[in-house]
Symmetry: C2
């Protein structure tokens, strides 16, 4: 772990709630596990320590870049002035402040004080607000002059948080069947019910916009998210899971909310149809790239280096893209190996190394990286239909940034 200095634009005095917003892109798994490892059983005493944690987050081996794409113009951390999501946060600072204020107001509960307690750990624990920022960016890019993009950004963050809470329960269930890691931060009941509450609150927020089209988009996204999560249950531990099923799963678990976040930003701004479609396509491709990168990093990235946090998906027997590609290329003996470790769950010392060796043999990690880069390129291409605007450039940089950790 290495620390990174706070970036602060000269002369700016941002809202304290935003001081911790411009941090390295973190991934859900890292986030959850790190909190649990650090604080163990029970509740955190406050969010300050969690915020601190994220400032010394998972940066090892990941060269961040401003704008690279396939040319790999990686720059060392010393040379970085502003990462694209930080630059977006600066540009949208006022809106983000309003979103944070709205989130704090709406996560309250008149009758059940446990709700804001549970919610605060997630919502105020130094998250980078990537999804709501996408909504704000899309609305800004399309020249929106109203105020409902704040509601929609908060909506998107609430849906994301509710999903994390429910994922906690699902992960615990997985663990009971295989791995003995407990759900340490909250009990199942609180996670399920507070998640439901946040879904309902997000629903209230979007109704307030008065836009039936926005409601339609978010209702459909909600169904796709849940469908993808259920599909993932049956896809796990099943070697028949192919790339088509994998794509459907990650569209649900990640891309559906990204694409809804950008699309509703355009819709609320009254953007023309081709721009709304471009925003959807951008978010969809970005979300897919984001999840593929996440899954690739779980095997140490392109190089397949074993390090901290590597192999979680392997131990949980998840069929992610690197494994799917290696299984597709496997001979009989290799297939027997995959069947033993993934389907039967009979994992022994050295199996992760063997899995990585098989992935290397068949070029599965490189092929996975290439897929991520292709989706990132697709997301950038979609931006061509949108107005030339500083936000557009930052969204393009963001697509590069998402895949920079593996390129």
């Amino acid at each position: 772990m290495i620390g990174i200095a706070h970036h602060q634009a000269a002369g700016k005095q941002p809202d304290p709630a935003l001081q911790h917003a411009h941090i390295y892109v973190h991934f859900k798994a890292v986030y959850t596990l790190a909190l649990k490892e650090r604080f163990g059983e029970g509740h955190l005493s406050g969010v300050g320590c969690a915020q601190q944690l994220f400032h010394t987050g998972d940066l090892n081996g990941n060269d961040a870049v401003l704008s690279s794409g396939r040319d790999k113009a990686a720059m060392g951390l010393d040379h970085i002035v502003t990462k694209p999501h930080e630059a977006l946060a600066d540009l949208l600072a006022e809106d983000l402040g309003a979103v944070n204020a709205l989130i704090r107001t709406r996560m309250a509960s008149r009758h059940a004080p446990r709700i804001p307690e549970v919610t605060a750990h997630l919502v105020e624990a130094g998250g980078k607000r990537l999804r709501p920022m996408l909504t704000l960016a899309a609305a800004r890019l399309c020249g929106y002059a109203g105020g409902y993009h704040i509601h929609l950004a908060a909506t998107v963050e609430f849906i994301h948080t509710a999903t994390l809470l429910h994922d906690d329960v699902v992960d615990e269930s997985e663990q009971r069947r295989g791995r003995p890691t407990a759900n340490l931060l909250w009990d199942n009941s609180s996670s399920v019910l507070v998640g439901d509450y946040l879904f309902a609150r997000s629903f209230q927020l979007m109704v307030e916009t008065g836009s039936l089209r926005v409601l339609d988009i978010l209702a459909n996204a909600s169904a796709t998210i849940a469908e993808g999560e259920v599909l993932q249950l049956s896809a796990a531990r099943n070697l028949a899971t192919d790339e088509g099923v994998y794509l459907q799963v990650i569209k649900g678990k990640t891309a559906a909310l990204f694409s809804a976040a950008t699309e509703v930003g355009g819709v609320i701004a009254g953007a023309p149809e081709d721009q709304v479609k471009a925003l959807f396509d951008y978010g969809d491709a970005l979300g897919i790239a984001f999840q593929i990168v996440d899954d690739l990093l779980d095997y140490g990235g392109q190089s397949g280096t074993i390090g901290k946090n590597v192999g979680d998906d392997f131990r949980e027997r998840k069929l992610t893209l690197p494994v799917i590609k290696a299984v597709a290329a496997a001979d009989d003996e290799e297939r027997a190996f995959w069947s033993r470790v993934i389907e039967a769950g009979d994992q022994r010392a050295g199996d992760l190394e063997q899995a990585l060796a098989l992935m290397a043999k068949h070029g599965a990690l490189e092929a996975t990286r290439d897929d991520a880069l292709a989706h990132a390129a697709r997301s950038k291409a979609a931006l061509a239909a949108l107005p030339d605007h500083p936000v557009r450039k930052l969204l393009s940089d963001l697509a590069d940034f998402v895949v920079a950790r593996v390129s």
Copy 2:
């Protein structure tokens, strides 16, 4: 257990899916436990056996009546021609058939076949469709001529089903802390995620009505439901829980969906404001009465008779109204008893009998019954603002019927 003959209006050939709709009012706890007791671990092979089960359901000791109220004009089963919810089901048979068809269509999933598998067990397992019937009845009563009441009725049933699925997970969590009963029908992951899917599907259905007011009502109801469930978590095992907290909990867990179900029926019909308010008040009071009766029956009803399914709440250390009333009247020694069995969870042989004796001593069961009757009377009074119509009479009878088991 005693069987009841199917009621069939002469000459009618109802939709096969509805043949089992007019069955005795069952309660969620009975439903879930009965299924588990009967079928044990794993999945049911079909819904037929579950339907059969409900036809021989929990009728012991419960004289059903057509119209009684406080006058206790109870009639033996031999004299019953039609119970009010059966009569409503007959009157609304065409609409109910459309609701069932819509539910079957919308519980499908293109990508995740596990979703309809899990959903079918609950949605098609002989449920009486009480909540959707309230929506259909309200729309009919207010002269609605359109088709969106079908969508709203299916919406309400999906929300109810999603809540049941999530309750299963919460109950398992409770059991881990105290009682060793497993969640037998499904695993946690499927229950959480399929519940989320049904919430999303309900959301899509209501968006299709194009009524922002309906969306507002259902969004608020969803928040109240989740809030009540979270409040229940902190209220459980806490002797400080008073009648005010209890009322808030049951408004959330039961009454909010009843009142939303009736209110949206009036709203979609374009009913005048006083009628919409009357429909809300009817559903709210009916839901509260319904839940108080459920909680009272868990202690054997007014007589406090120990029998099958009695004492579940006691063993789970829930602060329901009979206990709250007994605790409020307790002397020091009695308070120590309640503290031991409810707060500390140190329950021994004879404790349930002792709890019932203390309730009898302080008249807690009778007082609980009186509260249920008062709410039923309030629900009937609300109907005065609504048009004189056969449906109104049946809704009034339904209020009597809900409390008939304890009056």
